[in-house]
């Protein structure tokens, strides 16, 4: 209630890229699909893993990127969702559709002051 900003809806691509753009893995013209990245995950406390175990996965745990139908998300190798990628990584949806896969590890995880998880991800 009463938020003052305009949000970041442009992170959600609302059109398919052209063939040329698609070959580059998105609308930016940069080969993002082949690029490693690090991210702090969102909504940890609302995802399956935390709801099931009431804790965050340990540092070093292996994780995978997937699209859950709404958000680009991170899951464990057992398929338990641990958090969402920030929307600036929404270009990965097109990469996944193009056949790219992404995996990595949890680089940091904490329970306080609020549950938080960081990941290092590479294309595989």
């Amino acid at each position: 209630m009463g938020s003052t900003g305009s949000g970041s809806f442009t992170d959600y691509p609302n059109k398919k890229p052209t063939n040329e753009e698609k070959n580059n893995g998105g609308t930016s013209g940069i080969d993002k699909c082949g690029t490693a990245f690090s991210a702090n995950l969102e909504e940890i406390s609302r995802c399956t893993y935390y709801l099931k175990y009431k804790k965050v996965p340990s540092t070093g745990s292996e994780v995978l990127v997937f699209f859950n139908g709404y958000r680009l998300s991170i899951k464990t190798t057992k398929g338990e969702e641990v958090g969402y990628l920030p929307t600036k990584f929404n270009y990965l949806k097109l990469c996944l559709e193009d056949g790219f896969s992404f995996s990595g590890v949890i680089s940091d995880s904490r329970m306080t002051p609020t549950p938080s998880i960081s990941v290092d991800i590479i294309p595989v």
């Binding site: 209630m1 009463g2 938020s3 003052t4 900003g5 305009s6 949000g7 970041s8 809806f9 992170d11 959600y12 691509p13 609302n14 702090n40 969102e42 909504e43 940890i44 406390s45 609302r46 859950n68 709404y70 958000r71 969402y84 920030p86 929307t87 949806k93 904490r110 002051p113 609020t114 549950p115 938080s116």
Partner: protein
């Protein structure tokens, strides 16, 4: 302290959840009131509210259904879009007079229950586009309800930032990470609407401290 007891407008969001804990911390008793005004995320909000409200107040939640009031609204807060395939801007989420509606229903309900206060967790919105989100509006609304009834509107967080509310929530033991405040997506927070962006910015700032 008894005259401070009242109704809390509760949505399962970060601000109102923190306020529930703040009221308890200040020895103020309250009835949590959830209003379904047709927001697409009403079910998610209500389920979340039941998860995050202090256990002492779980069985005291009251639910008011006024969905029909916005049934013809074109707001994307009422009729959600597919964010991946449809364009949306923040203005598309606007719902006319929502805060007028929520506060007057809260005041009406409070008086019906014999309570003297409505607690609302509206926060610092001096720059909000909506006329009923401004501090000027809240001042006039408070004055009007005091002049024409016995219920006082209380907004203790109105000069707080989202970050300050989140910090307070943590200090008071609220499960702020489990709250839901998304305007654009009914089930999973979109991470891109103004509410999500504000909330996530506050969390990031806290995590970096």
């Amino acid at each position: 302290m008894k005259n401070k007891n009242g109704v809390l407008l509760a949505s399962g969001g970060l601000d109102s959840t923190t306020m529930a804990y703040w009221l308890i911390d200040n020895d103020i008793d309250f009835v949590p009131l959830f209003i379904n005004y047709g927001q697409h995320c009403a079910n998610t909000e209500f389920q979340t509210l039941k998860n995050v409200i202090p256990k002492s107040h779980l069985n005291r939640i009251e639910y008011i259904d006024i969905r029909s009031v916005y049934a013809k609204s074109k707001s994307k807060f009422i009729k959600p879009v597919d964010l991946w395939n449809e364009e949306i801007v923040a203005d598309d989420l606007y719902i006319p007079y929502r805060n007028v509606l929520l506060l007057t229903i809260g005041a009406t309900f409070a008086q019906t229950m014999g309570l003297s206060n409505v607690y609302s967790a509206f926060i610092n919105s001096n720059h909000a586009k909506e006329i009923d989100c401004s501090n000027e509006f809240f001042d006039k609304m408070e004055d009007m309800l005091i002049d024409y009834g016995s219920v006082k509107i209380n907004m203790p967080f109105r000069h707080f930032s989202k970050y300050e509310v989140a910090k307070l929530g943590i200090d008071l033991g609220a499960s702020i990470g489990s709250t839901f405040s998304c305007q654009a997506s009914p089930i999973i927070p979109c991470g891109a609407c103004p509410n999500c962006v504000d909330r996530l910015d506050a969390f990031r700032k806290i995590e970096q401290e």
